[in-house]
Symmetry: C2
Subunit: 366 residues, 2 copies
């Protein structure tokens, strides 16, 4: 088994990212706990992964908790429940959480670890493609609020992240494909070579080839590591990771977080951002078409709500909105993105109305 080890420093925390097939059966030795004791929190969907991990803990396991992993469960109440169970288990400052599951689980457990006893160690074992490529890396944790996603949270990086593509084997196809959108997003904003390679690998990835999946996920994870190390608190470059997310979050909210998976909403958000990128950032139609083609192969995705009346108030709630306006991440070419500080709301809404994965969506009219 080939194991890749990436050490990173996010803010004040030293983290290690482990990547390799079959790591799950061998993960316990890579997880970090100052006391040697662990609190395992996993989702039902990730049960088979948790089962492979559990035996290695033996008596060091002081809590073994299964939680909901739906977006509806990503609330402060769920964090409180995790904290309650940890306190009743006698958690101490030198103990460590282990989150096994998708982005909801790692966001919840990471946030609980951030505030229990004002901060204890945690580890992430992502079991979804989006978790491996994106959510579990970089230290953003948090929960949703009725007014928007991730409105409450903390920066609290995991000390270890163990990425084993076999953990994704039991994912439903829709979740698997939705997660791939985030993985492709990572390479599109920063790495032309990996983007081209991932396009080649896509047929194998779609047939669940674990080596091919690992290659894409590892490329996306390395990019995320690079970016969050240089900008842990999202003051500059880290904002590039929000490519497709400005409208993506609005699409997701417009569907009440039920109609579209996160990655599906981001796919529509990317399609819209491509239009703005052609107008404002010089993106060529050839590159836009390559991105759309990948998204078309990852789909089909359910239609989003496109109504300006519905999207406008959701856009203005964007967490990155400041007194200066709404920033947008634009693609200059495959492998290079930039942030435009003041993309007018009207342009977002127009792009939302026409977003598509058809290769010549706007071609004939221009």
């Amino acid at each position: 088994v080939t194991v890749e080890r990436i050490a990173l420093r996010v803010g004040e925390t030293e983290s290690v990212l482990w990547l390799g097939r079959g790591l799950l059966g061998d993960a316990a030795g890579r997880l970090v706990s100052p006391s040697g004791r662990f609190l395992l929190v996993s989702s039902r969907a990730a049960r088979s992964s948790a089962d492979r991990l559990r035996p290695a803990f033996g008596r060091a396991l002081i809590l073994d908790l299964e939680i909901e992993d739906s977006e509806e469960a990503k609330t402060l109440d769920s964090v409180r429940e995790i904290a309650d169970r940890a306190f009743h288990a006698g958690v101490r400052r030198d103990d460590a959480f282990v989150a096994v599951g998708g982005g909801v689980v790692t966001d919840l457990v990471g946030f609980a670890a951030a505030i229990v006893l004002r901060g204890v160690t945690w580890n992430a074992v992502p079991t979804t493609v989006a978790g491996m490529a994106d959510a579990a890396i970089g230290g953003k944790t948090g929960v949703d609020h009725s007014l928007g996603k991730n409105l409450l949270g903390a920066f609290h990086p995991p000390r270890a992240v163990v990425i084993d593509p076999s953990a994704a084997a039991t994912l439903p196809d829709r979740d698997y494909r939705s997660g791939l959108v985030e993985a492709f997003k990572g390479v599109w904003i920063r790495d032309a070579e990996s983007s081209a390679r991932a396009e080649e690998l896509l047929p194998a990835i779609l047939t669940r080839d674990e080596e091919a999946l690992l290659e894409l996920v590892a490329a996306a994870a390395r990019i995320k590591v690079d970016i969050v190390c240089s900008d842990p608190k999202e003051r500059g470059e880290r904002r590039l990771l929000n490519f497709g997310h400005t409208l993506g979050h609005a699409f997701e909210a417009a569907g009440s977080y039920r109609e579209l998976r996160h990655g599906e909403a981001v796919a529509w958000g990317i399609a819209a951002a491509l239009t703005i990128s052609r107008d404002r950032a010089g993106l060529s139609e050839a590159h836009a078409a390559r991105v759309r083609e990948v998204l078309a192969l990852l789909g089909p995705f359910p239609e989003p709500v496109r109504s300006a009346e519905i999207l406008r108030p959701l856009l203005s709630r964007d967490k990155k909105a400041t007194a200066r306006g709404l920033a947008g991440v634009l693609l200059e070419k495959i492998g290079r993105a930039r942030v435009d500080e003041d993309v007018p709301e009207a342009e977002w809404l127009a792009a939302a109305a026409t977003a598509s994965f058809g290769v010549s969506a706007r071609g004939s009219s221009r």
Copy 2:
């Protein structure tokens, strides 16, 4: 008006502490908000201070919220309520909270600021003696849990702390005296000269002389600043600030947080720690007597629960407990304290049983 300005760096945050009589009427210019917009959160008890502050904000005030400041209200639900109101007011990442009140208010608002949008700026305007000398300085924020105090929280220092002794003018006498315990604690652990000076000032302080109060509070605040700058996350020296708190927290919990004020419980905790300090840290009877005499003048305090059966489980919940055992802060002499890592529980319980402010409490038996 003499204004003292102390700049400090706690973790990654640059803070400024302002000290002076009458600062409240002039505070707005000293409070920090990247956007220029503020969210004011105050307690009913601090209404007169909030009233003095409010006019200066003008239209920059996007939220003006009055909250409960009892220990019972120091819960995650209160933080959620503050966050809810902030989101409905349209809080953005570059806005800032202002907390006006005692330790409960600054702990709650600081914690809300730590997790709203993963962290926004906040400012503290403490209106209690304990808040000025201790609670509002250093970045610890948090809420209580049914299993103990401050079990959920974050390190998130305020950018500005404005300390005006006149804010304490409307404090009930019991709260005023209770808060003085924390102020004396600060000088006792670190500054023999200020301790002696504070003893001289005590009669004036007890008659509410604002200059005298400011002198003690400023000495305690400077000590706290020194300590938290050298050890923001409480890995070493900062633990000295817990002098009297190991048993203090247990006394407080044993009285269900209703029978004893925090400072009163700490006074009993200090009295008990003096006994252990004489046995283990060479504290002289003369110095122990000076400390007890001050505490006697700040009292009388209600009797604590002394039962070992009740205190034992409360002690073992101490947040600073690690796999190694229960650490204790001991006084070597007035102005110098140290941490003993493993003071046996039995010694704490024995000291709790006999703690008193009588000058010769154990004298005759030794």
